[in-house]
């Protein structure tokens, strides 16, 4: 049996390294940073850890319905394809910065991509 993507990426240590880089990119991106409230940074970081754990194929209990619910407030704020693409871009750039091999980046991107319909509430 091949090891899970999560373990091949380095598990929680990889999430810890990635969250620092990813969240900085998101907050620095004027296209999408309005979706990420700045009031409670610690809570936001916990959520970004959940996002990355999920995209890395790691342990999570999120269903498609959970993804819908988690983002429905954002859809009401106007969340659309462009915003989704921007997040995908930052995910890829983060992993590239961490020198993750392209094949693994593609696997993580595919997992994130599979949630598009639910995240955008379609």
């Amino acid at each position: 049996m091949t090891e899970s993507l999560y373990n091949r990426l380095g598990g929680e240590a990889a999430v810890n390294a990635a969250v620092d880089i990813f969240y900085r990119k998101v907050l620095g991106d004027y296209r999408i940073n309005r979706f990420f409230g700045t009031s409670d940074m610690d809570k936001q970081i916990a959520k970004q850890r959940s996002f990355l754990t999920m995209a890395f194929g790691g342990p999570n209990n999120y269903s498609g319905k959970d993804m819908r619910n988690a983002h429905s407030r954002l859809v009401d704020m106007g969340l659309n394809e462009d915003h989704f693409n921007a997040v995908m871009e930052h995910l890829g750039a983060t992993l590239t910065e961490l020198k993750v091999p392209p094949a693994l980046i593609a696997e993580a991107a595919a997992i994130a991509e599979s949630t598009r319909g639910d995240v955008l509430g379609r």
């Binding site: 620095g28 754990t53 790691g58």
Partner: protein, 325 residues
Amino acid sequence: MATLTLNGNKYPYQSNETVLDTLLNANVEIPHACREGVCQSCLMRSLDNSPPSLAQNGLKDTLQHKKYFLACRCYPKQDMTVALPDHEGNEIIAEVSGKELLSADIMRLVLSFEEEFSFYAGQFVNLKRPDGLTRSYSIANTPAQSNTLEFHIKRLPNGRFSSWVHEELAVGEKLSVSEAKGTCHYLPGKYDQPLLLVGTGSGLAPLIGIVNDALNKGHSGPIRLYHGSRDPEGLYLIDEMQALAENVENFDYTPCVSGENDREKFTKGRAHDIALSSTDSLTGWRVYLCGHPEMVNQTKMMAYLKGASLSDIYADAFYLSSSGK
């Protein structure tokens, strides 16, 4: 088979169970959510044996040092006595041994104690007066000063506890002191890392403790302290900090006043703005923030965007509750 002890009750631990499973199966209420080591809501602390390293993955180093762990990731190999974060340890009784006004509304309060009491400079405790009224205050000294605790207590309008400390509490009277809490403190190691400390009002207290602790332990990297207030009267211990800055090469001190101010020795502006603009990048820095909650939250974000790692930013945001009446 290992045994878990929580609040004096013993729970036999089944192999391949987590601490969270054991306690939930015994109908003990433990906050939890993801059960996967991500959300950190099941944070607990071991009072004796060190938790397995898997159970500490992702926690801040100051928490790891104090044997905090995630119950959902903890498969104990040996007996453990555990506690929920806010229900651990015992109170000690301490005696007021000094009171001195540091500014118009800030009182230095010194307590002496005889029992064993361990803390890190920069942590806070709950002080409880005989009728039970309790407030959190940061410790301003370091453990190197034997058996004393120092606090800077700002008198708040209608503040019941702070007015009592200022007006009534007398030398020789007793207070009860909780165990030391909080993760905003110095940890030895990385002695050459630059440190940035920003405090407003009596948020200076823990920062002075951290600066002294770092210097005692031989910190060699630059240490920059910014203390801010709206008006000059809100600043205190100015001469002492300036003297320290003159004597210690790697320590800098900048008192800042954001409102009207005609004294040249103060920098004009808000402490966190001045601190953040003093350097192009905070990559590799360690940042300590104490004081006004809005300042702390905003500066956390700005420091992070300027390059400081999330794991290198320390702040205890308990000022909201302690500024209550």
